[in-house]
Symmetry: none
Subunit: 233 residues, 2 copies
DNA sequence: TGACGATGTAATAAAATTGTCACGGATTTG
DNA sequence: CAAATCCGTGACAATTTTATTACATCGTCA
């Protein structure tokens, strides 16, 4: 699907110019003439990027920027500010308000498009990050981060691989030997009971005092990560 | 300091013409006769701009362009392609390979100079700059400046590229080997542990005594720049 | 040329992680 | 019920990995 760009600009001429260039480059464009409309559309249409004029009726661009950043729906939405003057002060304020980049008018179409592409490229990785989850446990493979509910969970390398293996095979029971093969590697030899210790460490890191334990012990068989019922908050 | 321009061109007559015009306009000029030499000089002399002929011995202009873009040292170096005909196909390919602008031969000296100035202006500190940010860390690529909060942060060239790479891939963990490839270049060999030292230098430059460290060490995996809970003023 | 900044390496200190054990409670078996 | 297993747990020492420091080199710039 073509990326959707929200252009917030009150001057018709510039609006036309932007629409022309963006659509030629295979973007879809929606327009807002003032700050209020911008906030509304940003929430409703969920654009992939916002081109935001500095000077606007009703709400200044910088204020729109701030509000977009504050709202959970639109936080993280890439924003490029358009401003008439290249004043350093404005620039700093724009960036502080949360803009991702900044282009001064007059601008060349190619320059603007380059910025648009750059910003979109930058904000892409977050989208396709590989994550595993089970109930309120979330693991981000690329970032190497693990969370349970609202808090970050720190895991050692082995615990990380162990949990990852469970997450990739939820509900299934693994014997100690199977886990050693899968997590430690088929060629290393360690005591099977070592698995117990790491299961323990994983549990300790994962479970706060009151929370329930997602790891099920199957006596004389091994361990499993239960796909919990309390999915998706 | 006068801007340094690398002219890559195998026809002596055009070379002379270019040098004459450029030097008259207060640019310094270095010459390369073929693609190999171009890459070498671009890396060694660090020119501010490259004028790159399309047809070259050894390596085509487009290939040179691509390689310049791929190498960490020369990525971001402004490139203007010179092409014999104004064929649309060539132009598209040139721009796709990463050229900033292109000029068709024959060209008038004044036209060429106008393009040169335009491209340089765009990549100069005075002009707009692409910025990368993470929390209160702001990097201005074109100006080659880094700030944290209110203060300027001085980084060596390697630390700059290192931080840039992290900023362009926030949250993701990179092994020492990956960082060497991305920041040092895939062809140079340095000890992986060297990365540690540069991480240290980067941290020292970035973190005042009380501030928290945005760079996360992931044991047995590498390092990551954490996309922190955004703090927009 | 000499001061200077930047860089890569090696050596050493400091942390974090890991595999094992031993003990004791819990569960199953006979 | 007693024996036999099995699992949870805390403590440790060894090992691995990272942080930090010091140093030699190299190119730049006055």
């Amino acid at each position: 699907m073509k990326p959707l760009i929200l252009v917030v600009e009150d001057e018709a001429a510039i609006l036309t110019l932007l629409r022309y260039n963006l659509e030629r480059e295979n973007f879809r464009v929606i327009e807002a003439r003032d700050g209020e409309e911008a906030l509304l559309l940003a929430g409703e249409r969920k654009p992939d990027l916002v081109l935001l004029d500095w000077m606007l009726p009703l709400l200044s661009g910088i204020e729109v920027c701030r509000r977009l950043r504050r709202a959970p729906q639109t936080r993280g939405l890439p924003i490029i500010m358009l401003t008439a003057r290249g004043e350093e002060g404005d620039r700093i304020r724009g960036l502080n308000a949360g803009a991702d980049d900044y282009v001064t008018k007059p601008f060349s179409p190619s320059e603007l498009l380059a910025r648009v592409r750059a910003v979109m490229r930058r904000s892409r990785p977050a989208a396709d990050a590989e994550t595993l989850r089970c109930g309120d446990i979330i693991m981000d493979i690329a970032a190497h981060k693990t969370r349970r509910g609202e808090r970050d969970v720190h895991l050692g390398p082995t615990e990380f691989r162990l949990l990852r293996h469970f997450l990739e095979h939820q509900g299934r029971v693994f014997s100690r030997e199977q886990l050693l093969d899968a997590v430690w590697g088929a060629d290393v030899y360690v005591e099977p009971r070592t698995v117990d210790v790491h299961i323990r460490r994983l549990r300790k890191a994962l479970n706060e005092p009151h929370e329930d334990d997602p790891i099920r012990t199957v006596r004389s068989a091994g361990y499993a990560l239960d796909a919990m019922a309390s999915q998706y908050a």
